[in-house]
């Protein structure tokens, strides 16, 4: 099964593309004009030209084949648009228009009818009632919201607005997405099918899901079991606090809240459970790094506090501080100042320069007792240090050692560390700002290593 027609279509038609900035069809077409992997045509019943591009009255008037239709017309025209798209031979339709299943039984019925029509033509539907889809790699933004930052996370959100909020907030945090799918009412295409597709793509390193409710739980488990063997899936489930007091005549029934069962399903299928939005993002972004072979973490830092906080945070996640080899500690002692701590967490103290970061990272990565490295830096603004020399040191060490051990950054200096973080990210090293976030990333790597069976048994 391939959803390439949703994410890499050769030709897109925007049904409802508009010249009126007050309409969603305006934003969608404006965004899609930047698409670089195919053609985009506006369809508008009234205007001959939309945003400077020749428009068609009907999708069927567009010359040649159309792979994807983005439908952003008033509700009463959606059915007609689906029929037209079907007759045109379109393979996928994203229905942005709302007012269907989310409004009640009548809407659900209309929604089912749309799906039946689409299936008759062999066409699949994402939505309705969604924000749209993005594939940042090809600058495809088939939504009415602004572009996500480019990155490695495929993010599927059951809430359009929350999805948009996350897309915006992450721009500033330097967290990027490869794909964004606002899945809407899931009248047709669901989480399972999208996961299955995303499991085999090169550019998506992790799949993040924001779930409110699944329609077919058993199918989700079956698919997730397969997908998580290939690629990490991280789920944030809303509605966990819902009381467990379900009508039940057994003891077990009264203990089984809906979240308990979701949690069981996630555990069984290898889906990593995130507790918060930031947790989900912290976990998902770690996967530009390779998977560790064990859970022994080395921490290097230029400040004691962050080192200890990080040690605490990884301990809470069930990871271990690596016991460094005597040889490693001796060599660290040979160049670090006497006040430095050469025992893990290695505290190089505030005077540490880029060169110290380079040498320390190299030694720690080469230590056979270390499975993973967390490089911490509170970027100094004194003693003539540059804002990026520490990050550069880490990057140089990673490149030289190149032994497949994951490295995560924790650069805790707000705007002062922005440049360093950008540099690390550009080199595929996720760089966090809070100890609990880097610990979530490290934990996610270990859990996924367990899923795919590369983690050493202990």
């Amino acid at each position: 099964m391939t959803f390439d027609y949703f994410f890499k279509p050769r030709v897109i038609a925007v049904i409802g593309a508009s010249n009126d900035p007050l309409k969603l069809g305006y934003e969608v077409f404006k965004n899609l004009k930047k698409y670089k992997a195919g053609k985009v045509y506006p369809v508008n019943v009234k205007d001959e030209v939309v945003q400077g591009v020749k428009a068609y009255k009907n999708i069927k008037d567009i010359p040649g084949e159309v792979d994807l239709a983005i439908i952003v017309v008033p509700k009463r025209f959606v059915k007609g648009a689906i029929i037209d798209a079907g007759e045109k031979g379109v393979k996928g339709a994203v229905i942005i228009t709302a007012g269907f299943g989310e409004t009640g039984e009548a809407g659900k019925k209309e929604e089912r009818e749309l799906v039946e029509i689409a299936h008759k033509y062999g066409m699949r539907i994402i939505g309705p009632n969604c924000v749209g889809v993005m594939n940042t790699q090809d600058d495809m933004n088939a939504t009415f919201i602004m572009d996500a930052k480019k990155g490695s996370i495929a993010f599927i959100s059951q809430s359009g607005a929350l999805g948009a909020g996350i897309v915006y907030k992450t721009v500033k945090e330097g967290i990027g997405f490869s794909k964004f799918v606002s899945i809407g009412n899931m009248a047709d295409v669901d989480f399972s099918e999208l996961m299955e597709y995303l499991a085999d793509t090169e550019e998506d390193k992790a799949i993040a899901l924001y779930i409110e409710g699944l329609k077919d739980g058993r199918k989700f488990i079956d698919v997730a079991k397969r997908v998580t063997k290939k690629k990490p899936v991280i789920a944030l489930k809303a509605g966990r606090s819902e009381s467990g007091a379900r009508a039940a005549s057994s003891h077990t029934g009264s203990l089984a809240g809906s979240w308990k069962i979701y949690e069981a399903a996630f555990k069984q299928s290898g889906v990593l459970v995130a507790d918060t939005i930031d947790d989900m993002l912290s976990m998902a972004r770690a996967f530009t790094q390779p998977l560790p072979k064990g859970k022994r973490v080395a921490i290097m830092t230029n400040a004691g506090g962050p080192g200890v906080l990080t040690a605490d945070a990884i301990d809470r996640k069930g990871l271990k501080l690596a016991n460094l080899e005597e040889k490693t500690m001796e060599e660290l002692r040979s160049f670090l100042p006497p006040m430095a701590a050469v025992k893990n967490p290695v505290d190089m103290i505030a005077s540490a320069r880029g060169e110290d970061y380079y040498k320390t990272a190299k030694l720690l990565l080469q230590d056979p007792n270390v499975d993973m490295l967390i490089a911490i830096c509170v970027v100094p603004t004194f003693a003539g240090m540059t804002p990026t020399e520490h990050a550069e040191g880490v990057i140089k060490a990673v490149k030289e050692v190149n032994n497949g051990k994951p490295v995560l950054g924790l650069f805790m200096a707000g705007y002062v560390s922005e440049k360093a973080k950008e540099l690390l990210e550009a080199n595929g090293i996720p760089s966090y700002e809070r100890p609990e976030d880097v610990a979530a990333g490290a934990y996610a790597l270990v859990q996924q290593a367990k899923n795919v069976g590369v983690l050493r048994e202990e």
């Binding site: 039940a248 003891h251 203990l255 089984a256 069962i261 399903a265 555990k267």
Partner: protein
Amino acid sequence: MSAKEEALKVIESVLRSGRTALVEYEAKQVLKAYGLPVPNEKLAKTLDEALKYAEEIGYPVAMKLMSPQILHKSDAKVVMLNIKSPEELKGKWEEIHENARKYRPDAEILGVLIAPMLRPGREIIIGVTEDPQFGHAIMFGLGGIFVEVLKDVTFRIIPITEKDARKMITEIKGYPILAGARGEEPADIDAIVDMLLKVSQLVDELRDYIKEMDLNPVFVYEKGKGAVVVDARIIAKAPQEKLE
């Protein structure tokens, strides 16, 4: 007869009589069909039968009155433990029936279960519930205060693998109690794994007939010594009954 056929015979007869709640004796018949460890118990319809079974099982015995209307047996005082002689059994036979009549004058009495007194073990609970999204799920936890107060239980969707079963056991907070805390001998973890897998198989095969299930308590003995289902309840459903 296959395990499924044997279990279905019990469930279908309960459904035919217009009930969905299996009494302990019936529930244990279903469990037994799938090889779950239940005590060597017999349902006595008359006092003579009760005396005969008690002799066969050997004193001391326990008596539990089986009635579809009495699901909370201890509340109704229809469980008598540690009966040491035929004389005592005769007395208790009257008492147990009187207690049942007092608790529910309309109670239909299926008989009295004559059971051996069991050596106490570490108490666990195994349960099954049906979820509208995921179907049947199996629950595991330590019994008594651990489940009542601390709700230290874990779930998996049925069917489960052996790996799932082992993970369930080790991931509850009370696991050290099974592993052998404070110098205690470790409990028979393999026996628990076996039970979880058998319950999973049972429910997987009888998905359309079973709604909920409690094996509570189950006594688990020391490593190599097995486990036994002390009390059990099954809520059946007619196959056409669907969740909303």
